[in-house]
Structure formats: C-alpha cells, structure tokens
Amino acid sequence: MQNQDYIKDWVKIRNNRVFHCGSLLFENKEADLNKFLKCVYSELNLDYPKFHKMDGLSKLGILASEILFTSNSFSEETALIFSNKSSSLEADRQFQASTESFASPALFVYTLPNIVLGEISIKFNLKGENAFFVSEKFDTELITDYTSALLKEEKAPQAVCGWLNLQNDEYDVFLCLISSRGKTLFSEENLEHLYYFE
C-alpha cells in the first residue's frame, strides 16, 4: 500500500487574527503590525529576545511555527517549504531607506526571504531541507509536489509548508504541518480549500 501524507495541523495569521486548525486562537484590533505581532508573542508566552530584532516576515514565521511546533512532536529533520509573493520586499525597502543615512547591518541581514527559514531552524533546532519559492499567488501544485517528493524520497520525515507573505504591513500566513499521520489527506485540493475557505 502506498504511503499517504496528511495535513496534520495548520496555522493562519490574517487580518489581526490567528487561527489554529480552524479555531480562532487570538485577535485584536491593533493597527500597527509590530504591536500586533508583539501581542501575539505575549499571548504565546514566548521568551525569545531575538524575536524583537527580526524583520516582520521572520516574526510572522516564528509565531506561526511556534504554534505548530508546541502543539506537535517534531523531528529535527523536519523540512521547511515556504512560498510568498513579495519576497523580502518589506525588509529591502527598510534597508534601502537606512542607506540614506547609515546603512543598518541589522536590517541588511533580513534582505532575503529565506532568512525566516534560518530563524525558524535556529529557534527549533531544525537541520532538515528547506526551500523558499516566490510566486504570484499561492501555488498549491508546486508546494504539494515539492513537499510530497521530499517525503516520498525520505529526505524528511515531515514538513512544514505553505505561504508567508508580507507587503506594506499586510500579511497573509498559512503554514501546515505535513506528516504521515493525520485526518486530512495532503493534496492540492485540500491545501487550497484550507487556505481559501477554512
């Protein structure tokens, strides 16, 4: 019998709301992105000073991953397969603005989208495969195919995959934990359904 992969758990962060497996975990009306992210940080009882030095994209990735990894057991070989539309544009713009006076090294280190994967790997001691794709919209076919191939070829025992976008302080986060155990079959259709409708 062919091995099946499942969407074991998922997190969404959108419009001042944090959802875990479809249930509302947190919401507030804070208009400022950084203040909203700090509220979520406090809500999750995080104690990770490095968080405050990160760019918005990394903060979003850390918060979503925190929910997934504290709710589930995970291997250090867990793969991270993320995608978005805006790459690291937000950090790029902030860094560019800083160059008009004194270029900020702390901003410069976030001028690549895959830095968030490194931050998550450091926080959770992950040593597995990772990839960050940039596409116009959430390409469920690409993410499903790539993640399934990694799992099928036993490059990773499980994976966190999805969409992590930030542009002009507007954010859209949808990360899923893919495992050999779960209730929702890992398929393009189910991924799309969870992203758009759940």
Partner: protein, 85 residues
C-alpha cells in the same frame, strides 16, 4: 553614572531592539558580549554604526571593536577620548 553612560545605555537598548530592558538593567561594567548582554556579531556592527552616527567616530580597524565594546564603561571612555561631535 555619567550622562554619557545613561545616553549610551539608552542608545544600545533602542538601536539593538533590546525589548523589555531598561537602562538600570545594564551594569556599566557588565560584558556586552558573551555572558553579559549576550549581543551577537550583527549587534557589534550596529554598535560601530552607532559610534559613527552619534559621536562621529569611524573605526578604521574593525578588530578595535573587540576591545572597545567590552563594557559600557570602556565604550564611554573611548568616546570621550575620540568623539568629534
């Protein structure tokens, strides 16, 4: 503690995003790196920028930082000796 010490501590907290930390939490003789404040290599670069931006001091030899950034006391001493603004 001089005004410069307090000013430096405020700048370090603000520049390095040391959230939840107050001026009084930083001892003037406390190591900034390693076991002290636990700053990292990117923070060291930010401190070099801080010296130039706020005090007009341009470090020509980056290895100087290792000796200057040992504590707030040492930073203040170096600034007093070399500041151009």
């Amino acid at each position: 503690m001089t005004n410069l010490h307090t000013e430096l501590k405020k700048s370090i907290i603000e520049q390095l995003n040391l959230e939840d930390m107050q001026v009084e939490d930083i001892a003037s003789d406390e190591p900034l790196f390693g076991d002290g404040l636990g700053l990292d290599s990117i923070d060291a670069l930010e401190l070099i920028v801080l010296l130039e931006k706020d005090y007009g001091i341009k470090l020509t030899d980056p290895t100087q930082g290792r000796e200057i950034f040992t504590s707030v006391n040492r930073m203040a001493e170096f600034i007093e000796e070399n500041r151009t603004k």
